[in-house]
């Protein structure tokens, strides 16, 4: 039986980047790969010499690496938010965006995990986490939640990719043999009959619920690494929801940037209409205001309680060593984006991208300003030793490498697989009447014995 594929009017333009092959991309790949390699070299040097090559010290024991960890896990939330949470709530505008957003998840998670290993003094002992793991430690919660998130994201992403891989297998016959062979294997013998589509939708719906639960767990648990200590500025119940909101906020802003780039470079104007950006704009306005709400809730509570050790950290942020980053972040994440979204960004992709970039820079700064000021004024030591922190070139180079690595994986992916889901964006998947399915049996119910 020949494979059936749903008819998608944008099939040609969506498949074009995959058909085209590498071409001029090679230069971009080489640039990204060399930054990645330089970062790996810097990490190797750090491994040999010790973490002393970073700017970390006492009491600022955690620096840019942990900031990156939180940021990358936050970026990852974009994909799951758009593909899972919006699937559960039935927001259909998500359909053309799902894969582009999920790919951000998939390619930022490994670099988030890498941050933890890079930050470890003894990465060679990483397996101790499994051998001697203590589930009372929030770091093990992180380890478990993030690995589960990575695994389930891969499965979720791959499942929704199968029909399109089968399409590539059948349509792209003049690609290099290795590429065709790859499509053949990864398509898992997909034939596109209605049973398969029906089953796939059911699995994806069920997984979307699971993914929604995981995504909320993951970023809350990430924040608990800080929240479960008794350090001022960290030990607040708000830190979990605040991290979660920030993650979805920066993630959605990242989707805007990625979509605009894809749309421009791969001429996907018809497949990614401007209306999508307007839908994202509405979401982002909500998140911007939500962010302000969280800020006020957190800092007003701290200020009125005015516990001495909490106020040390509070003033560090508002007027102390970190005032530039703190106020810069507030302007980048809140004031400018809100102004852009309300007055400029409707039907304007350049303004949307500007806001998206500002939000992501600002959210990185936000992670930094949550983590570092607390460490410079720990409970007892704020009277004794006052910390300061200046990252070194090793830390910046490794940070650049992490972002390049993510970009590289993304760029390669767009040349191998269609970045807009073809089967999800068609009008109808019905090519024959829905087959009869047996009534599902309730748990414990017995069939009548005749």
């Amino acid at each position: 039986m020949a494979t059936w594929h749903p008819k998608n009017e944008h099939e040609q333009i969506i498949l074009a980047p995959v058909k085209q092959g590498v071409g001029r991309d090679r230069i971009l790949w080489i640039v990204l790969a060399s930054i990645l390699l330089a970062g790996i070299a810097a990490w190797a040097r750090q491994f040999v010499l010790g973490l002393g090559v970073t700017g970390m010290n006492r009491p600022v024991y955690w620096g840019v690496y942990i900031t990156n960890f939180v940021f990358f896990i936050g970026l990852a939330h974009s994909g799951t938010f758009i593909s899972a949470i919006l699937r559960v709530t039935g927001a259909d505008f998500r359909k053309p965006l799902t894969r582009a957003a999920e790919a951000i998840t998939l390619f930022s998670l490994p670099f988030g995990v890498a941050c933890i290993v890079i930050d470890m003094g003894r990465p060679d002992r990483v397996l101790n986490m499994i051998r001697y793991g203590r589930f009372q430690s929030p770091l093990l919660w992180d380890f478990t939640a993030v690995s589960l998130y990575l695994l389930s994201s891969i499965v979720f992403f791959y499942l929704s990719l199968i029909p399109d891989i089968a399409l590539c297998r059948d349509r792209l016959t003049d690609v290099p043999p290795w590429k065709h062979r790859m499509y053949e294997i990864l398509a898992l013998g997909w034939t596109g009959d209605s049973h398969q589509y029906h089953r796939l939708e059911r699995v994806l719906d069920a997984m979307a619920i699971l993914m929604t639960m995981i995504v909320i767990t993951v970023h809350t648990v990430v924040s608990w690494v800080f929240g479960m200590t008794i350090q001022p500025g960290w030990h607040t119940a708000l830190i979990g929801p605040f991290f979660l909101l920030g993650a979805i906020f920066s993630g959605t802003a990242a989707v805007v940037i990625v979509l605009a780039i894809l749309r421009k470079l791969y001429h996907l104007e018809d497949a990614l209409p401007i209306g999508l950006f307007n839908s994202l704009r509405k979401l982002l306005i909500t998140f911007t205001l939500g962010w302000l709400y969280m800020m006020i809730a957190e800092f007003l509570t701290t200020y009125y309680g005015s516990l001495p050790e909490e106020m040390e950290v509070f003033w560090q942020k508002f007027t102390g060593d970190f005032y530039l980053i703190f106020w810069g972040m507030t302007i980048l994440v809140f004031f400018i984006p809100l102004f852009i979204f309300i007055f400029r960004a409707k039907d304007s992709i350049p303004w949307m991208v500007t806001a998206g970039v500002l939000i992501n820079i600002g959210m990185w700064m936000e992670r930094y300003v949550v983590i570092i000021p607390t460490e410079t004024r720990p409970r007892l030591l704020y009277e004794l030793v006052q910390g300061s922190y200046r990252p070194t070139w090793t830390e910046w180079l490794i940070t650049a490498a992490l972002f390049s690595g993510m970009g590289l994986l993304y760029a390669i992916f767009t040349r191998l697989f269609p970045i807009i889901p073809l089967w999800e964006t068609v009008d109808s998947l019905e090519h024959e009447p829905e087959p009869e399915r047996p009534e599902p049996r309730r748990f414990g119910e017995r069939t009548a014995q005749v």
């Binding site: 973490l51 470890m120 200590t229």
Partner: protein, 238 residues
Amino acid sequence: MARWSMVIDLDKCVACQGCSIACRFENNTPIVSPEEAELGREMLWNEVFPLRAEEGDIASEQSRFLTRPCMHCENPPCVKVCPVQATFIGDEGIVHQNYARCIGCRFCTVACPYGVRYFNWYAPSWEEGLEQHLNPDRVMGNGDLEGPAIRPRGVVEKCTYCIHRLHKARARAEAEGREIRSGEYVPACVQTCTGKARFFGDLEDPNSIVSQLSQERRAFRLLEEAGTRPKTIYLEEG
């Protein structure tokens, strides 16, 4: 079962830093370059800090100091967060640090409100000649490496109440078929203290010096409000 505790009388402390130096040589803490020390990477398991004078304090003319070993909390924030049980509270209340297992995530260092934990940013080094005179004591076995044993780079270390001295005292007592006598096990800082400001003993024994002193009206613990219940107890000045 003993519950080891230290009492520091701040009235008697003259801030000579003898405790810091005795600890350094007893426990082989590495010496860092002045540039590294500037960054805040010096290693002194027992640090002596000058206290900031309160504004408008009449007594602010007088310099005040605080000497700070590990608090060996009954409810230690560091132990709670360690992902691999490299730090744990022993039967006798001492908070151990196992260098052989530590993965260097530094969760304990950020969780400790007293800043008693130190990280090996580089492999340890000593000045020429000094490395010939390191303390050979080490506590090993069962996958553990504790006490003055040389730490590799990338792991966390801290005051252990000179745990190797406890092991030695116990071995001696066992060989002679008796209990450890009071005063038989004291950390190096207590032994060396110029002003005789430090006392060490078993809190379970109501007659021990630390039990007696901990009942004094001057007795207090650092950051009592944090609920960590330290076994290092201070006696207030004045």
